[in-house]
Assembly symmetry: D2
Homo-oligomer: 461 residues x 4
């Protein structure tokens, strides 16, 4: 069923589905086609294990395998118009393609949700392995590379939007490496922990127990065919917390991307101007205002976050299913793929921008210089206190105000003050140098950056 | 650009976009095609008023009108690959179709968001007028008809899931008529209050003020062409609260639908069995369990609510746009149409089910009878108190327990008790009848139902 | 029951409840004491109208009035330990204080929720009238005063965090006046539309209909005693959308405050430095870093928004109450007062800061100057196009690049270009002046500001 | 500072803070007193390690220990009125109590957030260990006991609110044991993974690096004093995802409790009546309607869930903090304790109810019997198919309809049908018995229940 994409309603299926080559892999794992493909895989797994347990012949497996490979979404939807039931439609489409002997074994003893929830586990895990994690790792690598390159680039640290004390730009990036890296590992763990089921209409193996000696073992083997573990106990549906944890970590990553995007947007402000997207020399802004280089990609990432983050509420609401299940998680559950798609799209965009980020070191230095005289009050106060000055805080405050008024540096004023000079003389050469050259007041910013990058080089292998 | 719908990611664009005839009108107002169509309308309105103000010739208007009618989304997207800017792409597509003389007047003095935000106001208002409100009114009518038909059908009122005192089924429905009716009016008011702008890059009419004597009046006239009022003051964007209020009322309606769906689901429980979907005599359940008539449509409505209600958070987040605007409401704003689509889809489904609802009056009576002896304690206690019994509550409590043990009715026990009988004799005949026939303890359920339905017959005209 | 406030769990009841004088009025309308006080008011209103209708004597009213004035929360809670029911506890406390003759008329024919939901309507309306709206109006007045004072203070408009074209600082503030003013009116409308009920256990007046001729009229009169209108039809509870709409507008205001706070935070950045909190000359920062003036009040407002905005989800969830009601909106409903308290606290804080805001005009001018050469490309391009230049956009783009390289102004370069000079000569003197003095490119910023402030001076009366 | 609790605004601090003995431990870990107590612990830990590293004397540690033990919240708040800074206030209060020699070492080289974020980690971990997890484990134990006791109690399984196929009541409970148990483990893991910091104003150890050889090691040792691990890298604040993950699992547990509460509420419906709160023989309902036993505790749990679940949004929003931190997570972060308090309160309530749950086995059997003839169609169909019937589904459907019309059992009808009887004869005795005695169609419900309970007996040790 073909349709003009511009007649689609969801931006995911028109605006953000172009160019096609970036959309194709998302579609492969997240579309309705993927749903039906993986559901057929589960039906095949069931028959495969029925054969292993001697319940049907190998020919049945072969017939079903062929049928499953051939069945199309369009055909299933056509059948569903009659059956009014999506899995029954799929089953009919498979059965219609096999011999009368094979038919009874298709979907044998299964309930619809056995197929659907296991299919979801397969798809979410595959999406994690093949879309989400590789995409995030590419971003992580880009961030690591940039952080390493900028590990010694001095930048003023900012708290409350105000200049505080120095860091390096690489150090600021290393924090994102650490946050992102940890959540990637948590996504992986949550994806690996997704569960399926083959336990029947109420989870008690009522039907499978009729013919199958050990239906728990049977369930385990069927699910193993598609690389999924069974939930420890199910109702008609798999316990919802597995998918809930998974989406929580996706949403958490979205928050990290949004934080990073906000930081870069602000560093790109006209007055700050410390980073920007790289513009090739021949490239010109399309606007009449050549001074504007809008951070539209960072803005897009933040905006996607605002769209998808709140959807975690839906996952929480879907934890509630009455008794052995109601169907009120059915439609809502179908939209989980949108969150995955949104995250992958945002990550790819961010990766492109990070890879060609332009760091304006001159402007970083210029911004740094604006307040270096002021923040040096912090180490000065601590050093005086450390060397026993009884009222270091007040002494520094007074000198800082004098420096602001006179235009002299705090350092010069100290040398002129006999009392303070006495403490000054106890300072080590490094400590003195630090007061004279505020860009040295970096703490362990460089070393910590290196530590973090080295750690994650190991961990992402 | 054609694509197999089963390759789409959003369920709105595959599963819930079939059958096509139910999707076509949603697509007409909510798709990307609608975006570009209404944006072109705004561009045309601009040129139309430029002509009225003597700034361009009537031929320019004619040329632009023709161009706007011809431009296609595919063409615009193709152009956007070059311009990297959606409105500039549209403007180029229009300009390429007109004479060099007409070109300067296309988009003259406008900023992109003048076009985009005004287009959004048009679309959301049209969607309200042509999709949301008519669909909700059809549901309202179906509910009113059913409520009227069942206004005297006695049903036990339920609080805490426990039998309380009587109502009629029509009375229960009339509450939904009232709640839904009021929110429809609020949606209409919010839709009529959506605003556009033609105030330029920062909302101060900087560009239009160059050539146009009274740019505020000019803005008003351009927007009047497309049936939209200007915001009292704008930044680059229209104040976000207009759309926020609009979506709030959409979401509020979703809550009402969900509440109704839950009520019906529970009345359809095997043990309660008071309502159901109508099944034609020849129709059979597709399941092997003919006793099961699952409330799948009500469940779907609840599920759609769970998906779309949380998205109000996005609207709240989009209230925040820095200074004269950042773009972080751009991607997220594109998804508002999904909420509208979800609501219309859920409403249509619910309307179909309400129209063929089967009311099991026999079972309503049977359920009612289970506890009528018990709840009669309430009026009895009030009547005794009203006639001056000093400790009516305790007296009734004792008799009720006796009735439960002995199997006699409370009424019979009162007649046997000399003290209580004295009060009994003061009761009016209607009051006595009510104790003997608990189904009469209906208060004003019938009259209120009639009142509400009559009121809304007037108000929805 | 006294308790050390530092043993309280909610920050609203320790940290943000000091100083006491700022907390006392919040507590008066929003505490548990307020709940019991207004519930007693409803009980008294009921007896008052029972007397009007001739059902009880005036002495009963007097006795109940006295009892209601005397009853204390502590007493009610003590009683509740026995009754396990809060309204029954209150009723017992009142009954214990009146004569045996009066007792039957206390709470006569009412159900608990008649009292509770009506009490909530009273409290939320009173909180709107006496807390929320006056507090917001004080903020509005402060903003209006500042906007008027700064209506001609030229500031660079910022989109995407980038310099765009000029506005005035007053114009930026006027947008907030307009947004805030409209939402204040909506809060007022929603508060006035809050509803009560006196319709009994399932909303059908079952009990009141036993003795009262016209229970709908009776309900109206009881509620009129406490200044509340009845819901058109109720179940055991009042339709939830009235409170939902009310809280939606509270949350919407919170979004506006957060947007404003963000804007000011960013204008206070070290590199931008256009606004700040006023510091008295003798006042010193407590930090060792005298350059830091952290926007902690704006940050607090944003943070309170993040805490309270998401709670709208609870209101939406509370729209769903099964059949004639379940109690799952009971505990959650008790927390609505926290949202009101949070909003009032944030508004008061913001008002204090706005009233002593320091506008750094010198820095505004300095920031403006950074890019005025660049943005002038916009009006230049429009003027050239308006005077018939066939390719104005490209011509300006080239000149702007030349200006950046050569250091000359665009204006000078135009005069040197024979072709462009020809168009230049057609410009009006005002148009020429504007290109030469970019601070004149203000559009209608000043006039619109005046218009908005004048309008709201009228509307808030 | 004493205050009447009924003047408090938050229900957590009035209604739900009584009785005091249930509130005292919550207050101990979650109040403002707890904040200041644990902040003082961190200050002490800092001095302790300064001594270990030879930077200050043991006397300093002793003095500070004494001061930290004595300092009161009231005193700190009084001081804060002067300093306008909470940590500076605490530090002053400690310093005022120690000798001039000790003063410089109090808070030496630390930034405020070092103290605050580490204090939060301590409190959330302690709250998990001492409040949340023990409370949840008590609920888990109660559920396990009940599940074990009811592991063979046959109950009809319900899907879509409709009777499906059999389970046991214990099996239904075992699912909750499994879900709850897993989330308890996840809470524990998330609590153990909470992190602190002692890395200074921007996380780069700028200040501590002045005097301390290895500030990373130093940080580790200080935090070890209070049982907390350092974040791998920090800005001014600890990475927000640690607390985010922690609250996610709290909220997830809330969802499980809400699901359970809903299930029990519905099983307690008048028409279903399978469970109830235990009422002692002498106990009477306080209502005039003795038939009503409202599930108010389950309703309260659901309601608390609706209040607290949406607050996860705040945690997600607090992931975003600009550059090296803004303060917009400060106020909102203070409310995390409310979520913990709400969860503990709800869990305690639920535990009380579960411990005295009354299982109405007679009614379970009666409900079961209503549809046992119908659901037996499922195993019959599967058995016929398994024994080779070519069209088992249709054959059973026809017989089931005949059974409904004739009143005969399906089993009897099969014996009358020569064709079907042939297949019947191939059934094993167990299979025949199952069709005759539908309560045997239990699959592995009993065994799975035992498996799960045994597993969790091990895991909760």
């Amino acid at each position: 069923m073909e349709r003009d994409i511009f007649k689609n309603i969801s931006p995911l299926d028109h605006r953000y589905s172009i160019p096609e080559e970036q959309y194709a892999d998302l579609s492969y794992y997240l579309s309705e086609e993927a749903v039906i493909r993986t559901q057929a895989e589960v039906e095949l797994a069931l028959v495969t294990v029925l054969h292993k347990w001697g319940i049907c012949s190998v020919e049945v497996v072969e017939e079903v395998a062929k049928a499953c490979a051939e069945v199309t979404p369009e055909e299933v939807y056509h059948e569903e118009q009659k059956t009014r039931h999506n899995i029954r439609a799929l089953v009919n489409c498979i059965r219609n393609r096999v011999s009368p002997e094979a038919r009874p074994f298709v979907h044998f003893s299964a309930t619809s949700v056995d197929i659907m929830d296991t299919s979801a586990a397969i798809r979410y895990r595959q999406a994690a392995e093949n879309l989400v994690i590789p995409t995030l790792q590419e971003l992580l690598s880009a961030l690591m590379e940039l952080a390493w390159a900028e590990r010694e680039t001095v930048q003023i640290g900012r708290t409350h939007g105000q200049h505080a004390v120095p860091i390096t730009f690489g150090f600021a990036l290393a924090l994102y490496v650490s946050r992102l890296g940890q959540q990637i590992e948590k996504i992986k763990a949550a994806a690996d922990n997704l569960r399926g089921k083959m336990a029947g209409a109420v989870g008690a193996y009522n039907a499978s127990d009729l013919f199958i000696e050990d239906p728990l073992k049977f369930e385990e083997e069927v699910l193993a065919e598609v690389g999924v573990k069974p939930a420890p106990i199910s109702s008609q549906i798999v316990q919802p917390e597995y998918v809930g944890d998974y989406v929580h970590h996706l949403v958490s990553v979205f928050g990290i991307l949004a934080n990073f995007a906000d930081d870069m947007r602000h560093l790109q402000r006209t007055e700050i101007d410390e980073v920007g997207e790289y513009f090739a020399p021949e490239q010109v802004g399309s606007s009449t205002m050549p001074h504007k280089r809008n951070p539209i990609n960072y803005e897009n990432v933040k905006s996607m976050y605002k769209e998808f983050m709140p959807r975690m509420i839906t996952l929480y609401l879907d934890q509630i299913s009455e008794h052995q299940r109601d169907l009120t998680n059915s439609a809502s559950g179908r939209f989980v793929v949108e969150v995955i798609a949104g995250l992958v799209m945002a990550t790819r965009r961010l990766t492109r921008v990070v890879k060609k980020m332009w760091v304006n070191k001159a402007q970083m230095r210029a911004n740094f210089a604006k307040t270096s005289e002021s923040f040096i009050a912090e180490p000065l106060y601590i050093l005086l206190a450390g060397y026993g000055h009884p009222d270091a805080h007040e002494a520094v405050r007074v000198k800082t105000l004098q420096a602001q008024e006179s235009g002299e540096s705090v350092y010069q004023l100290i040398l002129k003050d006999d009392n303070l000079k006495e403490y000054w003389n106890r300072f080590t050469p490094e400590q003195k140098l630090l007061i004279q050259k505020p860009e040295n007041y970096l703490g362990k910013a460089v070393q910590k950056t290196e530590l973090i990058i080295r750690e994650w080089r190991e961990r992402i292998r």
